[in-house]
Amino acid sequence: MRRHSVVAPLVLIGIGALFLARNLMPELPLLDYLAKYWPFLLILWGALRLGEVLFWAASEKPLPIAGVSPGEWVLVVFLCIFGASLHAVRGFNSWWPRSGISVGGLDMFGENYEYPIAGEKPSSKTPHIVIESFRGNARITGVDATTVKVTGHRTIRSLDQGGADRANSSAPFEVDGDPNSITIRNNQDRVSAGNVRFNADMEIMVPKGASIEAHGRFGDFDITDVAGNVDISSDNAGVRLQNIGGDARIDLRRSDVVRATGVKGVFELKGRGADVDLQGIDGEVTINGSYSGILQFRNLAKPLRFQGQTTTLNIEKLPGQVRMALGDLTASGLVGPVTLTTHSKDVQFSDFTNSLEVSVERGDITLRPERIPLSRIEATTRSGDVELSIPTGAKFDLSASTSRGDGTNDYGSPVRLESDGRGAMLKGSISGGPTLTIHTDRGQVVVRKASAEDKPLVPKEDTKSTPVPAGPLKKVDQ
């Protein structure tokens, strides 16, 4: 009897699942995962084969001559080539995001040695402070003073104390410059990367009027109470800003969190990252990049321009809030014109004024304008349900259609429902109202009257930072 291996069907299932996941969640960084973890596929493959042979041996079935067939070896070679090139293309120099450099046995056998750092320099009331590229964290606080003061320590990971001492003395810590322009330097570049690894944790006190320009390689920036501009660029950083009087410009190749509260000037963010949380920004907000976590915006006084990998969102003003996650977007309290284009998200808008344009490739759309007079609404999805709640007393010229799916008219007159075979059309107008155009290629269309008992729109996913209490919502139902 010919033995059939389970590996081939499992590979098929795996490939199918990968493509399915890619299609359903296009923003999931699957390629990144693959580039990181592909050697484990080899281990899994081998383990499956080994398990099979052991099972056959235990059940005294005849064993194959080779546990892994020549064809499979060819596949293994291809997988190795694919994995190695993907790894190189994706730019992972090593396993963990924190180790940007290959350090040999340092991670396993090295030890941490700590050295204090300190520096002080008199400055003007509004100095420009440059922090030169370094690995480590910086906490910058604006205080009533006319000096720049740095305290903290550096951690040097080395195989022996001598190596760490040498590295410490060859990379002196410096606070340099004139009262108007001060440079903080760790000189980490002077030490060859292979033998030791530097990390500096700095606590920096600056005059309140200072402006900051910081460059980092790996580490967090925490900036509070600074009246000037803040300019941060880093290969990998978490950034927290609070009470910034000027503009904030942040350019990160990778980040876990960017959080800003109270920025008086414009806010610009570029790069890749996970979570973004902005609150109380008085200037225009521009975000350009790819963010895989939860994005939250609250209380933005000027326009928000968001350009993600698959999502574009423009809002003129945001007194309310927007929460965007991988698979959904919930927004309330917006001043338009609002435009949203996205690939695959369930979209919920409530309490918005001025025109709204929503275009979704795959996902449901829920719209609750809540205020009258209504403005122009244009909402389309290729695949998903659309629900529109019209407030009582509103004037409108409605045209809601589905090419394949049901239509439901819960509004009543003057909206009429026309069904044609596979699709449906809801039409109706009250004189002088704006056009409301709603369309889905495949899905339901529901038009209904808004009522005071409507539950507030909450994100469908569980939230990390703002958990929705389960108790009070239940009470409303009773």
């Binding site: 990181k36 592909w38 050697p39 484990f40 596929l41 080899l42 281990i43 899994l44 493959w45 081998g46 383990a47 499956l48 084969r49 080994l50 042979v53 052991l54 056959w56 041996a57 064993l63 194959p64 001559i65 080779a66 546990g67 892994v68 067939s69 499979e72 070896w73 293994v76 190795c80 994995g83 790894h87 992972f92 120099n93 090593s94 396993w95 963990w96 180790s99 290959s102 350090v103 040999g104 046995g105 991670d107 396993m108």
Partner: protein, 57 residues
């Protein structure tokens, strides 16, 4: 344990070794360029086991 069994598990064991070495390479501790002789050692050990298995059989 006979030679046939060792022969059958040789491929999977080598595959697991290869995967482990590549994973260590990505971990940044030791590059595959340095650890590849481990594959030869595992192969040799399996050959030895196979031979002793045949003698016993």
């Amino acid at each position: 344990m006979n030679g046939n069994f060792i022969c059958a598990i040789r491929g999977p064991v080598l595959l697991i070794t290869l995967g482990t070495l590549l994973a260590i390479d990505q971990l940044g501790a030791y590059s595959f360029g340095r650890t590849w002789p481990a594959l030869l050692i595992v192969f040799g050990l399996l050959k030895l086991a196979e031979r002793s298995g045949m003698h016993n059989a």
